[in-house]
C-alpha cells in the first residue's frame, strides 16, 4: 500500500485532471425538472462560500450544482466599484445564468459605511442588503432603508461575536423598526449560539428576509462546519417551520468547510436540502 501522503497526492492529482469536460456538460444538462419546481424554497448561495474562487469559477460551480441565486460579496464586486465595473460584473454573472439577489455580508462601523452600503446596493440594483451595522448605527440604518426602499437583513454571527451572537440579539433591537429592517438568519451560527431554530422561525417570521444554510457538528461554540445533513441541525424540522410560515426568501447555502475545494461539499449540501424539501 502507498503511504498516506502519497495516497492523498496521487488521488488528488488524478482527480483534478478530468475537471474540464463536465463543467460545460453539466451546464447543458441543467434544465427544468419536476423536483426543482417542487422545492418551495428558492436555493441560493451566500457569496462568502467562494472567497477562494474567481467570478468565473463561482459561476462554473453554481452551474454545476444548478443553483442560480447569489448574494454577492465584495471580493467579487468591491463596495467602491464604479458603475461601469458593477455593470461588467453583473453582466458576467447574468451571462453565466446567475441572478444577484442581494449584496453582503457588509460590515458597517460608521455612517459613511452605511451610506456606502446603500449607495452600492442601489447601484447594483438589489432590493436587499445582508449587513452588520453596529448598534449605534441601527437608527441611521433604518432611515436609509426608508429613503432607499432597500431592505436590510442583519446577520447573526455566532457565540464569539460581540454584536449579534444569535438571532435574538438582532430581533430585540429591530422588531419595532420599519418592517424593511430584518434578519439574515445564519442557522449554523445561531445553532452554535444555542438558538432553537424552529422557534426563531416561528417567532421572528415577518422579519426573516434571508437565510444562510449550513450544518455544524453540534450546538456548542466550537462546533465545526460540515456538509448539510451530516451535522447536528434537524433540517426536516427547520424546513417544516419555514413551510409553516410561508417563507418566500432565498435559502442560501454558505459552505465553510474545505473552502479551497468546496464543490463536492456544496453539491452534497444542495442535494440534501433538495431531498428534504422534496
Amino acid at each position: 500500500m502507498p503511504s498516506r501522503r502519497k495516497f492523498i497526492q496521487s488521488s488528488a492529482i488524478a482527480l483534478s485532471i478530468p475537471s474540464l469536460l463536465p463543467i460545460s456538460g453539466a451546464a447543458k444538462n441543467i434544465g427544468p425538472d419536476k423536483n426543482y419546481k417542487k422545492a418551495f424554497l428558492k436555493l441560493g448561495m451566500a457569496g462568502y462560500t467562494f472567497v477562494n474562487y474567481s467570478i468565473d469559477q463561482t459561476i462554473a460551480m453554481m452551474n454545476r450544482v444548478a443553483i442560480d441565486n447569489l448574494s454577492v460579496k465584495e471580493f467579487h464586486l468591491p463596495l467602491d466599484s464604479s458603475q461601469e465595473k458593477i455593470n461588467e460584473v453583473l453582466a458576467k454573472f447574468k451571462g453565466g445564468g446567475i441572478n444577484v439577489y442581494a449584496v453582503g455580508v457588509i460590515y458597517m462601523k460608521s455612517q459613511a459605511e452605511v451610506d456606502r452600503a446603500f449607495d452600492y446596493a442601489k447601484r447594483v440594483g438589489v432590493e436587499l442588503i445582508v449587513g452588520v451595522p453596529t448598534y449605534d448605527l441601527l437608527n441611521y440604518t433604518e432611515k436609509k432603508v426608508k429613503s432607499y426602499n432597500i431592505r436590510i437583513a442583519i446577520h447573526n454571527h455566532g457565540p464569539e461575536d460581540k454584536l449579534y451572537p444569535g438571532p435574538k440579539d438582532v430581533y430585540d433591537r429591530i422588531h419595532k423598526m420599519d418592517k424593511r429592517v430584518g434578519l439574515c438568519l445564519d442557522i449554523g451560527h445561531a445553532f452554535r449560539a444555542g438558538a432553537d431554530l424552529e422557534k426563531v422561525v416561528t417567532d421572528y417570521a415577518p422579519r426573516i428576509f434571508d437565510l444562510h444554510m449550513k450544518d455544524v457538528t453540534g450546538a456548542r461554540a466550537d462546533a465545526k462546519a460540515i456538509e448539510i445533513g451530516r451535522g447536528a441541525i434537524d433540517f426536516n424540522a427547520f424546513i417544516a417551520a419555514l413551510r409553516k410560515i410561508g417563507y418566500n426568501g432565498s435559502c442560501s447555502i454558505e459552505f465553510e468547510k474545505d473552502m479551497k475545494d468546496s464543490l463536492p461539499g456544496i453539491a452534497e449540501s444542495a442535494g440534501y436540502l433538495r431531498g428534504v424539501m422534496s
Copy 2:
C-alpha cells in the same frame, strides 16, 4: 466577458488546482452523526461508477462523500486475480475504510464463466454476486448458488438490453428458483424500460437483493443519467416503498454522468438520498 470556451477552460483548470488538501481533511471530519444513523438504508456505491478512477481515487472519493460500501468491479479486481492479488486489493479498500459487500456486475455467457464468478466471489469473501447470466445458464447458476451458498442478484439493464431490459424479465425467470436467486434492481434502467418502481418493490420484495440507485431524465429509452433528485424518478415514493417492505440490502449509487469528473454528482446524489431518507 471571456468567450464560452475560454471561460470553461479557465474555470476548470483553476477548480482543479486545490483538490489536494480536502481529501485528507474530509476523511478526518467524517464521524458518526445522527443523520447517518437515522438513514434506514445502507448507502453504497456500484463499482462501475469508478470506471475511470484508480482504487486510490475510488477510496478518496468514497471517503469524501462518506459512503463505505462497494460492489467491486473487475477493472479494480480482475476476475482471474490470484488470492494474493485479491488480498492486496481488499486490504487497500479496508485500509481506506471501504467494505466490499459484493462483486459485479459480472456478465456470464458460459458455464465456465459462471464457475469463475462463483469461485471469484468465494475467494473475495462476499455473500453476493451482482451478475448477468444468459437465460440458458440460469439453472446452472441456481445450482452454483446452492453449492456455494452465495446469493446472486441478477441485474436489469434497460430497454436496449436483449436479456433483461426490465426487472420483470429477471423476476419471471427466477421467482420459482432457490430463494438466494434474486434481483439487483437498477432503477434508472427499469424506469427507462417503463417499470413502475414502487410496484416492482412491492411485488418482488423478497427477491430484491441489491439496488443501483440513479436518476434519469425521463421514462423513455433515450433518457439520460442525471444527478439523483434532478430527474424524473420519484424518490420519495420509491424510498417509502422500500421502507414498507423492510428492505435491508444496500442502496448503491451508480452515477453515470460526467464519468471523468463524477465527484460533485456523486456528492449531490448522496446528499439527496440522505435528505429523502431523513
